[in-house]
Symmetry: C2
Subunit: 406 residues, 2 copies
Amino acid sequence: MDLIVMKFGGTSVADAERIRRAARRAIKAKLDGQKVVMVVSAMGKTTDHLIALAGEISSDPPRRELDMLLTTGEQVSISLMAMAINDAGHEAISLTGGQIGLITDAVHSKARIQEIQADRIRKELDNGKIVIVAGFQGIDSTGEITTLGRGASDTTAVALAAVLGAKLCEIYTDVDGVYTTDPRMEPKARKIARISYDEMLELASLGAGVMHSRAIEFGKKYNVNIHVRSSFSDTEGTLITHEVEQMEHIVVSGAAVKKDLVQFVLVGLPNEPGVAAELFAHVAKHNVVVDDIIQTIDEKGAASTSFTVERGDLAEGKLVLQEIAKQFNATRVVCNDPVAKVSVVGVGMRSHTGVAQKMFSALAEAEVNIIAITTSEIKISCIIDPGDAVKALQAIHAAFDLDKEA
Amino acid sequence: MDLIVMKFGGTSVADAERIRRAARRAIKAKLDGQKVVMVVSAMGKTTDHLIALAGEISSDPPRRELDMLLTTGEQVSISLMAMAINDAGHEAISLTGGQIGLITDAVHSKARIQEIQADRIRKELDNGKIVIVAGFQGIDSTGEITTLGRGASDTTAVALAAVLGAKLCEIYTDVDGVYTTDPRMEPKARKIARISYDEMLELASLGAGVMHSRAIEFGKKYNVNIHVRSSFSDTEGTLITHEVEQMEHIVVSGAAVKKDLVQFVLVGLPNEPGVAAELFAHVAKHNVVVDDIIQTIDEKGAASTSFTVERGDLAEGKLVLQEIAKQFNATRVVCNDPVAKVSVVGVGMRSHTGVAQKMFSALAEAEVNIIAITTSEIKISCIIDPGDAVKALQAIHAAFDLDKEA
């Protein structure tokens, strides 16, 4: 019997009617002869509401207590979903992160999955039940409640699909798939039918908000096909899967802009082995998530290192910067706040030349100044002024013909 | 070092300001040199709101899922309380029912405490922390989330006080103590300074909504002094404690009315050993909570048995009634819906005569018809028409001089 994991985001369970709609999808899959695991996020704006409530009490609540608070959101959704399925005459059971044995490390608010003891889920599936799992949450080895970070219900879903050997993981959301870029910024954006994990990873980390990066990493690592689709229609969405040959014909699959970044620059660091390692040990110690790292050598032979972080980590980023500057006697420290990053992504880039040149030309024609450049095998990113973000994106989108059917 | 348990009801934690006020009380007790355990209910109308949410999904949600849903209310409160104490510069930790090892049986929505493995609480107290426990909830031996019934955060508090050997359990609520009767029904009602567990038990089970009956039972059994007081002032409330000699001088301590009851009457049951036992085995099987049982013999020597239940159990009560009537060939079955019960309570009753006569006279003068009578050692109750409830209560309150200082 095939097993399917269906994940429903906050907008897909925002009220009783939407919960019933999601329940009907699960029941249909069950009646089609599949074992069904649902992963559910908190209803609508619940998480934001809870964070606001915490904000009324404390400007800097302990992360352990924030996890204790936020995990209630998913617990509410899963119980209501179980009630909806039950009310429709089918058997269901809701389970918290702790109850499914989703064990994480002890880093509250950004915990990483260490293990899923899926025995309980298997037992309930074997009993013919639809199993409804609370996304986003787990427990550490001592039983403390942890969360995996905002948007990490996707990660829960794909990790479960991997552990349970599911054929497919469906991500139901409020958009009908992955687009060549954010349609709110570029109305000519087009839905992508298939995309590789690597491209999707780049797009996700570049601010294409459709899916959580770690979820895609899990999908890639454990070979889980991920179908991102709308919970409000039956239209096919975007399949995230292994690279297939035809994908290579497309040079660039998508473009993205990420705003609300801060760039830290350290000038005059010693240019010797181990400096970068020490530097990012400080970063890791403070649990700051680094977006991009760029290092170059200046005319005196000293190293100049810059890294970008999300503005939410600004305060801790500055702490890190001070520690590093002090330890290595940096000659100058710069904090560019805010900056934006515009990028193009495509596995086809590997076998095509001139992609970078085309991007820089498009930006030049749009009169966008490039503060910094960083590239990977399948991505080119430019750090720019946030005020230039939209025109930069539109220029690139047009330059790579992303508005035209591939 | 003395240990105190402080329980805060829903109205006492209804918003950020009230949570901070409760936090200050706990911090003050800590600074006075006591170890402090707080037990917290869900904020304000949260539980009602969650029940309404479930009602939008299903008219008859599985009790397991209802427990999964409702326990989130207390989890929100405890995390916010921990944040408030932390924000005031003191150490606190919130713990769920599962995390403190509050083990119950598996009867969802009406679970009973079987054991509290208080090691975790003791460890955190020894580390100098204020421990904040989610009231109302536990887990069964398989890790399923259970609840102890509406209002059962009191029970959690007193049970913890018992297990931890606390000197005192303070119940902070929106009233400033226990009154001779409900002041909304009889404006002349007076606050009682001290009351015995037995009297309080009777009053609680009679609908004096101040405290949960099982909490008082635990208090009596394990010798926990319970101080019911207002969270909005420093006025002394009511101390619920062991009977002391002076209490005997007061014949009647309080009066109460309980509405929303249903009386079931079974006429013509066999008058032989074991019938009542069999009868209430049916009742227990359906987890219906029986209020009062009255049995008499009719002129033909057959047994006539009546019992009252809360209207919430009406549907299941009727099921039970049908089972019983069928098994024993009852000649007649009556369902009086709704009825009310008016009662007087007092340990002094034991050593005074004429209490019943005085009550019945007061009701007769107020022209209240008595449908049924039932008494205990320290209580007299009359089943009456709900329309007569207020005037019956006022007549009794005056007849026993409850408005006058003892």
